[in-house]
């Protein structure tokens, strides 16, 4: 299969202007099947905006976005359920697609919240809610997953487990993932491609390339760069061009 057939969504010099202010400008990136692309950057650097551009939520954008799939799962950064809407976890799971009971249960088990199935969404804690959001997004077996800070509010051990789950989903479903995360440790461990945003693309490439980049250092400081380089030493294997794994 050529690379082009693997592309799920592609941003070409995309940007968004609101009230004469650029939220984000000149972003080019692509998400391919089975790959995890991570957006990092400080607050207000346009990470969520870029994700929404990729999803096609913004209609009047600069540049262009090409989307090659309709099977999309989305975990928004923030979602609030009004009290007037009585909504159980079970109802929420089938919000955008009808699923059978087994599929729902499987997804809820994967994110560890099957016991909350009949609870009202309003009664969940932040971390529990986040797990439900992730379960809903993966339950429909999407080709493209867009995760906007999917583990916010999740406890430490849960965070690691959920990132492992995300990696597993990307491999098993061979779905492309556009991830927004603040946690540089995890980002670097599981990501194929990093895009560092600060209103524009400040640098991008493999985690190691980005870590060495001077602009990245300027943005996140020397320490952040060291976090990344630590991962370099942890690697005990290399990937050959044929995709095989060789022990060092």
């Amino acid at each position: 299969m050529s690379t082009d057939q693997n592309i799920l969504v592609k941003l070409n010099d995309a940007g968004l202007q609101l009230n004469n202010k650029w939220l984000v400008k000149g972003v080019s990136l692509q998400v391919e099947k089975g790959k995890i692309v991570t957006l990092i950057g400080p607050n207000g650097s346009g990470k969520s905006t870029t994700a929404k551009i990729a999803l096609g939520i913004y209609k009047k954008i600069d540049g262009s976005v090409e989307k090659y799939t309709h099977k999309v799962g989305y975990v928004p950064q923030k979602i609030s359920i009004d009290w007037t809407l009585p909504l159980r976890v079970n109802d929420f799971m089938v919000l955008t697609e009808s699923l059978n009971k087994e599929t729902i249960d499987e997804a809820l088990s994967l994110t560890g919240v099957i016991h909350l199935k009949d609870k009202n969404l309003g009664d969940l804690s932040g971390g529990e809610f986040q797990r439900v959001l992730l379960a809903r997004a993966i339950s429909k077996k999407p080709e493209l997953l867009v995760l906007d800070e999917p583990v916010q509010g999740v406890d430490f051990t849960g965070e690691i487990a959920l990132y492992e789950l995300i990696k597993k989903i990307s491999d098993e479903l061979s779905c492309g993932i556009l991830l927004i995360s603040h946690d540089l440790h995890t980002v670097m461990a599981a990501t194929d491609h990093v895009v560092c945003l600060n209103g524009h693309v400040c640098c991008s490439g493999s985690p190691m390339d980005v870590a060495k980049n001077n602009e990245y250092k300027a943005l996140f400081g020397e320490q952040a760069s060291q976090i990344l380089s630590r991962y370099e030493h942890k690697h005990d294997h290399i990937h050959t061009d044929e995709g095989e794994i060789k022990k060092n």
Binding site: L55, I57, Y74, I79, L85, P86, L95, T96, V146
Partner: protein, 267 residues
């Protein structure tokens, strides 16, 4: 059987309640109560138009209300006035214009009270057909757009991102709102239609734990309100609209006891 005006009113009211139940839930969920009010107020203009041009009332109310909804959407795009100010502007100006037009139509005898508060004597067999056929159509369309409408009610961006076209669902829902006002105006009266949408749904919220059960309770609440209200209206010679809404209010108050219990249980 439909010779009796009271039976006609009852059958009409039951038809209306089946439709206001589910629509009312969305009015509450999407915070559209003032929007419903605006459409209902503009209905007076529709009624006067129907009388001057000897046109079907329900159809003309439907057209005018849809038109007002369109104007609202345009105004929202073109001005910086906040939404509630725009709604107030349209609600009161369309009501005022409607009343002024009525003032000019001295050759037609108008039952203003009946228009504002509903009149069970006014329900004809034709109206029954409009309510039941129109109502069935509204419910059918609502069922068809349920998924995108409900998903975008929970979260617009989620629905949009996952390809459900929430804008189309919203536009269709606006038309359904105009339609329910058009078919229920004779029963409930234009000042109280929003009450018929909101109060049974608010009662239902207190009793339910899922969207589906809220819709069902809302329908039951509406049916009970209509039946109790109409019998009261017959017995005490009160206007049908206020009687129905008062009955709905009593049911709502009763539902508060249930919610108090569940809060106690939680603590």
């Amino acid at each position: 059987m439909f010779d009796d005006f009271f039976i006609r009113a009852l059958v009409a009211g039951i038809g209306v309640a089946f439709v206001t139940g589910p629509l009312g839930c969305f009015v509450i969920w999407r915070r559209l109560s003032y929007f419903g009010d605006t459409l209902a107020h503009s209905a007076l203009l529709g009624v006067t138009l129907a009388f001057t041009m000897e046109f079907n009332i329900a159809l003309s109310v439907f057209i005018i209300s849809s038109l007002i909804a369109l104007i609202l959407i345009q105004l929202q795009k073109k001005t910086n006035l906040p939404g509630d100010a725009l709604l107030g502007l349209l609600a009161h100006s369309s009501l005022a214009v409607g009343l002024v037009v009525i003032g000019f139509l001295t050759f037609i005898r108008f039952d203003i009270m009946g228009l504002l508060f509903g009149d069970i004597l006014a329900v004809s067999v034709d109206d029954l057909l409009i309510i039941w056929i129109g109502g069935a159509l509204i419910l059918l369309v609502l069922k068809l757009i349920w998924k995108p409408l409900f998903a975008s009610t929970v979260n617009y961006e989620l629905a949009d991102a996952e390809g459900l076209n929430p804008d189309r669902a919203k536009a269709i829902f606006t038309i359904l709102m105009a339609a329910i006002i058009a078919i229920s105006i004779k029963m409930v009266g234009l000042l109280l239609i929003t009450g018929m949408l909101i109060i049974p749904a608010a009662m239902a919220r207190n009793l339910s734990s899922s969207p589906q059960s809220m819709v069902i309770y809302s329908i039951i609440g509406g049916l009970l309100s209509v039946i109790i209200g109409l019998f009261t209206s017959l017995e005490f010679n009160t206007s049908s609209g206020p009687s129905i809404i008062t009955a709905a209010l009593l049911l709502f108050i009763l539902s508060l006891f249930k919610i108090k219990q569940s809060i106690k249980l939680k603590n």
